[in-house]
Amino acid sequence: MTQLLTLLHSSIVFGTVIMFGALGEIISEKAGNLNLGVPGIMYLGAIAGLCGPYFYELSCAEAGTTPSGAVCILISIVCAFAASALGGLIYSFLTITLRTNQNVTGLTLTIFGGGVANFFGGSLNVFAGGVGQVKATATTAAFTKYSFTLSALGANADGKGIGYLLFQHGFLTYVAVIFAVLIHLFLMKTRTGLNLRAVGENPGTADAAGINVARYKYLATCIGAGISGLGGLYYTMNYIGGTWANDGTIEALGWLAVALVIFATWRSLNALWGAYVFGIFYWMYQYIGVSGRAIELFKMLPYLVTLALLITVSMRRRKEDQPPAHLGLPYFREER
């Protein structure tokens, strides 16, 4: 039982990373922009969200004051969101204004984000005196502080129970859930959401209806990237404890986020539970007790499920399950 609870708990942690990535990407793809730069954007969010509070805490230490948790969180989130949105802006400028190929641009953004993040992360390590020496202690504490006081609920002998599973998480975990619901309401229930979806489905029609296609695409991609970047931040703060590791896990989770968008058939509510399912599959090997090289095979499970789902969806041929019709294509206002 304890083992199962541990599995599910880690699934929620990793699921939240993936969910942030996927939610941002859903907004971007709904506007027709297939941004394969999600892993890079998550890297950007991770490093910026770490650097900001690290230097804030450093300056506090020099001044001899205690860093405030709220300020830590604010600096961290603003830095992570801004850096990721900037990544989205680069992508938007290239694909929307200069009409470059979306796939290639996205892939290069992934390489760019990883490069930038690991460069600064490595530098930060050197600055702090060695790998693993970077510590944004106060920030991590603020992020990982349990939001609810129900963590002892139904605890077993090991101190683990329903409270541990559902309530021993930092506040961003719940923010992700709220985001998933809000994004669903935004896309399906508001005029702006309707217009946004029209841009991704048929930009020509949207344009003729008086919608500013480029503006919608820019905003959707940049805000989407900002949300995706919070996934990287969550990983840094809530999983590895406010330090920098360049082991490539962020990139792996970023690709899972891209897969999750497809798995969720572009619906944020599906991404909500899908993210946890992906998390379970990711950690499955620990529960089953696999070791060594076979671990890597088990980590492929989310992709297998996505493939299986893709085949099912394509066989059912429901129009609503299809990607936005104009996904990945540039929009030229036609001459006639």
């Binding site: 229930k189 508001t190 217009n195 209806a209 008086g210 919608i211 006639r336």
Partner: protein, 511 residues
């Protein structure tokens, strides 16, 4: 205000490069009337209307709406002036419902309440007699239902002036009647309507007044009550011009292609070809006339094996003793048997040539199966390209220069030249002189005539009636996917063909 015109266009001129699409047009739309805008292909009807819809901006002239001078620079301006245009290609989002499409892009107050919108849509539908379900998804709709959504969309936005660009082209006769009933209801409600159409009987049945355009000029307008099919045709086609195309008499004509009762249906279930029967003879040029979209493309593609037929027969007689049914054969086999097709679509390169390839590589598209094993045979295509380059005087720096960068006439020479080089027994060309200047056009006419003298059955689909009358031996006239007549090009007149082009078979028109 009642005596003010809904729209007045004064001295409107629109040029595209050197081509004058509309020349000094003065047109008036009165309140509470249905005006038909009539004219051949390329007469400038759609261009003129697009200036009201904000797609184009006039180079010269002034538009007045309700007596006030206006400047319409975008679709939004058009809609703010109460003008709504229903284009031939519907602008709808497939996965949205009718209601969602209708409110798309609107900056209305309040939240997106689908119930309220559906109620408003139903109100409009009831008022004018539309049949519409606000919650139906567009992908589940028939063409006519989609059209209804487009019209309601325009009305929802408060349009008082509606422009319908060939609204009946895709409709069945029953659906057309429904549409006309709705149009009359809108007229009764004080709205002004313009309908663009080629079909004379529709003009006569629905409109109050007819305005005729020809080659970008405003020919005039008449009250429908005083017009007949014949008088309108005369206004539309005008006087024939002489081109002096060399037309030798056919030598020893023999049937090469027999089409019997051919019927084709497109994916929306609309009949594209309806019971088409005719014969193409070797040694003659058979013209196919008709307004755009009357089934010309479908006809050629069916013969070439690219479009499925529902019923009927396509018999091909390469020589007098053999007769092959082409239906069901794959396009490659049909080609091998000596059927060649060159189709010049609107964008010219869309079909048949690869723009970034040179002439030589484009020749290879037809011969890539030859050659040893996986290796391409470069020698023959190079020689063929060279011979076309020299014989047809294609202006290009080399046979490997991308054809995309050649001028239109040269591209078409390459396309037609390659088809002729296959030594076909049946050569089909569509719009072979589209966009070409006079001299280049003559080169193409002569090429086709040479083929005819060699005993090839040439099928020429064309737009210009004068050319059809002087180049062809016989002309098959298509109207709405049906053969409305087969005439002898030597004895017929422009008026007769023009009338056939717009005339449905009697029983069809009577519905």
């Amino acid at each position: 205000m009642d005596n003010v015109n809904a729209i007045e266009m004064r001295n409107i001129t629109k040029r595209f490069g050197n081509v004058v699409a509309n020349n000094g047009i003065n047109m008036v739309l009165r309140k509470g009337e249905i005006l038909s805008l009539l004219g051949e292909n390329g007469s400038g009807k759609t261009t003129l209307m697009n200036m009201l819809a904000g797609i184009y901006y006039p180079d010269d002239g002034q538009i007045y709406v309700d007596g006030n001078p206006v400047s319409i620079r975008s679709p939004k301006d058009s809609f703010l002036n109460g003008i709504g245009m229903i284009h031939q290609h519907y602008k709808l989002v497939d996965v949205f419902t009718a209601a969602e499409n209708i409110v798309l892009g609107l900056e209305e107050e309040g939240k997106l309440d689908r119930k309220v919108i559906a109620e408003k849509v139903r109100e409009i539908a009831e008022r004018y007699g539309f049949d519409i379900d606000p919650n139906q998804k567009v992908y589940d709709m028939s063409v006519s239902q989609k059209q209804t959504v487009e019209i309601v969309k325009v009305l929802y936005r408060g349009a008082n002036i509606l422009i319908l660009d060939e609204p009946t082209a895709v409709l069945t006769p029953q659906e057309t009647d429904k549409l006309f009933a709705v149009m009359r209801n809108m007229r009764a409600d004080g709205k002004a309507l313009i309908i663009i159409t080629h079909k004379l009987h529709e003009v006569l049945s629905v409109s109050d007044r007819v305005a005729v355009l020809r080659k970008g000029e405003y020919i005039g307008d008449v009250p429908t009550a005083e017009a007949t099919q014949q008088s309108l045709t005369d206004m539309m086609v005008g006087r024939a011009t002489t081109l002096n195309i060399n037309r030798p008499d056919p030598v020893n004509p023999h049937p090469v292609l027999e089409i019997k009762n051919l019927t084709c249906v497109d994916k929306d279930g609309v009949k594209r070809l309806d019971d088409v029967t005719f014969t193409a003879m070797g040694g003659e040029v058979l013209g196919i006339a008709g307004v755009a979209g009357s089934g010309q493309r479908e006809l050629l593609e069916t013969i070439a094996g690219l479009y499925p037929a529902v019923s009927g027969e396509v018999l091909y007689r390469p020589d007098e003793s053999t007769s092959i049914s082409l239906l069901g054969m794959d396009p490659l086999e049909i080609r091998k048997n000596g059927v060649a097709m060159s189709f010049v679509p609107e964008d010219r390169l869309g079909m048949g040539l690869v723009g970034s390839f040179g002439m030589s590589a484009n020749m290879m598209l037809r011969s890539w199966r030859k050659g040893f094993g996986p290796f391409l045979n470069h020698k023959d295509p190079n020689e063929l390209a060279k011979s076309i380059w020299e014989n047809l005087e294609v202006v290009t720096p080399s046979i490997n220069y991308p054809v995309r960068r050649l001028s239109g006439g040269n591209v078409q020479k390459v396309l037609v030249g390659r088809e002729i080089a296959a030594k076909p027994k049946l050569l089909m060309t569509a719009y072979a002189v589209r966009g070409l200047d006079i001299n280049t056009s003559y080169t193409i006419y002569n090429l086709l005539t040479d083929q005819k003298l060699k005993g090839v059955a040439v099928v020429y689909v064309g737009e210009d009636l004068d050319v059809l009358l002087e180049l062809c031996d016989r002309i098959v006239v298509l109207c709405g996917g049906q053969v409305s007549g087969v005439v002898d090009a030597r004895t017929t007149t422009r008026e007769e063909v023009g009338l056939l082009m717009t005339q449905f078979r009697k029983e069809e028109a009577a519905v």
